[in-house]
């Protein structure tokens, strides 16, 4: 590197100093809150003994990871986790976008305010209560569906909590119902940020509503969709513990379709309470997600550099 380029580079950097300063509080917080505690990742490879302390505890290699794979459930929990997440990402995004677009069509201030607040309601109810509400619907003898809906259709009552085949649908519905309002607001903000002039021009050209959505709205919110998808892929081995544990009421008969990595780990360690093994599970989930994101981010970069995360 010769002196002129170095000087040029120095000048260029100097121009950005205010930007770097601006980032300091945020980066400092990430360092303290996220990076400092990362020494805890080492716990995944240790057999913790409190008499020795975390630091002096013995290294055990990959022993803490064994229970995740040495089980006949390994296939089921991995399959369930992946499939649910895939469905949640795709369907979750589609429905949130649809609601946001519809919401944007509502002109009345009152009506819009009303819709906007009520779709957030499910997000505010804790998952334990959601499990009670679902139970109010599905309970064998007192549930709304068994007592009112099925008789109306002339059908026999169903033991919902013993029949695994219904649960992929139930869990998906609950997940969408609970989360749609949240992600819909992101897309609403994105749509509202689009310059009105585009639409006005399109209307003058006589473009149909559908055309406008396809040619203006979608392209404009693609970066947000890409980002949310990438982040979703990063957490594809994680799942919403409450949804899979509380909502099916931890019913053993449903494990075939409700057991995911997080619930497996929880049930396996309830008795042992081993922080090494739970750290190992987290590490494994993160690592897989991490690799998948790197790959998908690389693919996104090939297509459109601006939409990539990094």
């Amino acid at each position: 590197m010769n002196t002129t380029t170095r000087r040029k580079r120095g000048a260029r950097l100097r121009r950005f100093i205010p930007l770097y300063i601006m980032m300091l509080p945020g980066l400092a917080y990430l360092f303290i809150n996220n990076y400092l505690p990362m020494f805890g990742l080492s716990i995944a490879f240790k057999d913790i003994n409190y008499a020795k302390g975390i630091w002096a505890s013995d290294w055990v290699g990959l022993k803490n990871f064994e229970y995740l794979f040495k089980t006949t459930d390994a296939y089921i929990i991995t399959r369930n986790t992946l499939l649910y997440n895939a469905v949640f990402i795709v369907l979750g995004l589609l429905i949130a976008i649809a609601i946001a677009i519809l919401l944007n069509e509502i002109r009345g201030k009152m009506a819009r305010g009303f819709y906007q607040s009520v779709i957030l309601l499910p997000y505010l109810i804790s998952i334990i209560l959601v499990s009670y509400l679902v139970y109010a619907m599905l309970s064998v003898d007192a549930g709304f569906i068994n007592k009112t809906i099925l008789p109306m259709l002339g059908l026999d009552p169903i033991s919902w909590y013993l029949e695994p085949k219904y649960w992929p649908y139930i869990l998906t519905i609950v997940h969408i119902w609970k989360g749609a309002g949240y992600s819909c607001i992101i897309f609403l903000a994105a749509i509202l940020s689009i310059d009105r002039e585009y639409y006005e021009a399109a209307e003058l050209d006589g473009a149909s509503k559908w055309m406008q959505i396809r040619k203006i709205t979608f392209p404009m919110i693609t970066p947000i969709i890409t980002m949310l998808t990438l982040l979703g892929i990063g957490r594809i081995f994680y799942s919403d513990f409450g949804l899979f544990y509380q909502v099916p009421m931890n019913s053993g008969a449903l494990y075939e379709t409700t057991n995911v990595i997080d619930t497996y780990v929880f049930r396996g360690l309830m008795q042992l309470g081993d922080i090494g093994m739970s750290a190992a599970a987290g590490f494994y989930q993160s690592l897989v997600g991490f690799i998948l994101v790197l790959v998908s981010n690389y693919i996104v970069r090939r297509f459109d550099k601006d939409n990539a995360l990094f």
């Binding site: 990076y35 409190y50 008499a51 229970y67």
Partner: protein, 509 residues
């Protein structure tokens, strides 16, 4: 990509730096400047402060400080110790303990839940108490039959002391008295599950809206409240008939187990059992109180009927179905131990000794302050008490679980309860049959992988099978096969090895 590599290197660098920095912090955690030492009170230099942790159930904590002050008056005078309570909400207990131990925080004496005991010892969280007991634990030793104190030994050492309470357990049926009376049921004639079945038949026929049998607790199966083997801790490998020449078997393969779940299934199909017993979230007491349920199975002890009547607001009667047996699990249900972080181990033991020998301390813990939280009944025996006029459990501002604090036999008795309750409990303890494996504590650390896998299989099948919700003929073989592939045999082999070792060391034949 190059940038990312650079970022990753930077991260690694930070990481190493932090590791070394925190390493120091971690090692030096013994000198943690915890804000618990609280000068300001008159301190004559010799009085040392110890921190005492226990789970707290009642939300009404407001008078806890008053009780702490009263206890300190006694303990400062007698053993120069001032205690600082660290009450932990019961639901948060496991997590808080984890943080306290990992963070190396000050704690000198703690309640130990039986479920966590062997784990805590395996992870080095508790210190050996034998020498301290010899030096300062005279009162503790006197409070026990030796077999019970020895039941807490792990590798020949005592790491925790059980509280003095019912140390054995019998299993039985708890029923609504009004219905028992109404249908003239002779409860003494109920001996077997066949008799119970007939009883349910009567109830079902006459009271179509009442469910004859509901679970003994939320998330509990019927087998858990009708235990016919020594669970040896976790039910993964059990001792049939509390003896079996110390030969461990898989409970789920026992013919008795099959017979029991077959019967439960039959009851379920007959409509004797709550239909959603496997997923029910309504407490047993609510089910009884609302008139929906007739009976439940539960672990019993002397005075149980009175206790349950109070809890459900309904008169209940009980009938024992399985005679009392003392197993390690019963004894180690509630314990006290000294954490490895303690810097006042001797003082902690001295205070623990008071909890087993000083009636004033025990009653302060259990009932609060005389005159304020309870009054002695005039014209009754000295240990009979009641709430002050116009007060009851809801308004009193101090509620504790008596079995949690040291020697419950020194505790006063509410006038609504049996005045001889402690005499009866002591008799219950001394006459109950000890399991042959009483005193054996299993250490699962060698088979953690298998325990995690088996735990999952057990939670999957246990409740559905043991509440009758599914067909045992179809699911039991599947269950057993899955247990095998999850490594049940390896756990049993390890347990057998430890049990043999234990038997040799304790010369149990």
């Amino acid at each position: 990509m190059k940038n990312i590599m650079r970022g990753a290197t930077l991260l690694m660098l930070c990481f190493v730096l932090i590791l070394s920095a925190c390493g120091k912090g971690g090692n030096g955690s013994g000198s943690e400047p915890g804000g618990s030492a609280n000068p300001g009170n008159q301190q004559d230099g010799k009085v040392e402060e110890i921190t005492v942790a226990f789970p707290l159930v009642s939300t009404s904590q407001q008078d806890l400080q008053l009780v702490e002050d009263e206890i300190n008056k006694i303990s400062e005078e007698k053993i120069k110790v001032r205690v600082k309570f660290l009450p932990i909400n019961a639901g948060e207990w496991a997590q808080r303990m984890n943080l306290i131990f990992s963070g190396g925080e000050t704690l000198d004496l703690t309640f130990v839940s039986g479920l966590m005991y062997s784990n805590m010892v395996a992870k080095g969280q508790l210190i050996e108490l034998d020498e301290l007991l010899d030096a300062h634990g005279e009162g503790i030793k006197q409070a026990f039959d030796e077999k019970y104190l020895n039941a807490t030994k792990i590798n020949g050492k005592i790491y925790s002391v059980p509280t003095v309470r019912d140390l054995a357990g019998s299993y039985g049926l708890t029923m609504r008295k009004d219905m028992v009376d109404k249908y003239n049921i002779d409860i003494d004639a109920i001996q077997t599950l066949d008799d119970v079945e007939n009883l349910f038949k009567t109830i079902k026929a006459n009271e179509p809206h009442v469910v004859p049998l509901v679970p003994g607790g939320v998330g509990q199966s019927f087998r858990e409240n009708h235990v016919f083997v020594d669970p040896l801790g976790d039910f993964m490998g059990v001792l049939p008939d509390y003896d079996n020449d110390l030969k461990i078997v898989n409970m789920y393969e026992m013919p008795e187990y099959k017979a029991f779940i077959d019967r439960i299934r039959k009851w379920y199909l007959e409509g004797y059992i709550l239909p959603d017993a496997a997923t029910n979230k309504t407490t047993t007491f609510e089910l009884i109180k609302s008139g929906k349920a007739f009976s439940y199975m539960a672990l019993q002890k002397p005075g149980f009927a009175a206790q349950e009547s109070k809890a459900s607001g309904t008169q209940m009667v009980t009938k024992e179905l399985l005679a009392p047996v003392a197993t390690t699990s019963n004894v180690t249900n509630a314990l006290w131990g000294i954490p490895v972080n303690s810097k006042h181990q001797e003082k902690a033991m001295q205070f623990l000794n008071l909890m087993y020998s000083d009636a004033d301390i025990v009653n302060l813990f259990d009932w609060g302050i005389e005159g304020k939280h309870y009054v002695k009944e005039k014209g009754e025996a000295d240990h009979i008490i009641s709430y002050p006029a116009g007060q009851d459990a809801t308004t009193i501002g101090y509620n504790m679980l008596g079995w949690m604090f040291g020697n419950q036999f020194l505790s006063y008795v509410m006038k609504t309860d049996d005045p001889d309750i402690w005499k009866k409990t002591a008799e219950f303890n001394s006459t109950s049959r000890p399991s042959k494996a009483l005193g054996f504590v299993f250490d699962a650390s060698a088979v953690k992988t298998e325990v995690a896998a088996v735990s999952n299989v057990v939670t999957q099948y246990k409740l559905p099978l043991e509440t009758g919700s599914v067909d045992p003929d179809k699911l039991l073989p599947e269950f057993i096969a899955k247990l095998k592939s999850a490594g049940m045999d390896k756990i049993i082999a390890e347990k057998q090895k430890q049990l043999d070792e234990w038997a040799k060391n304790n010369s149990v034949q």
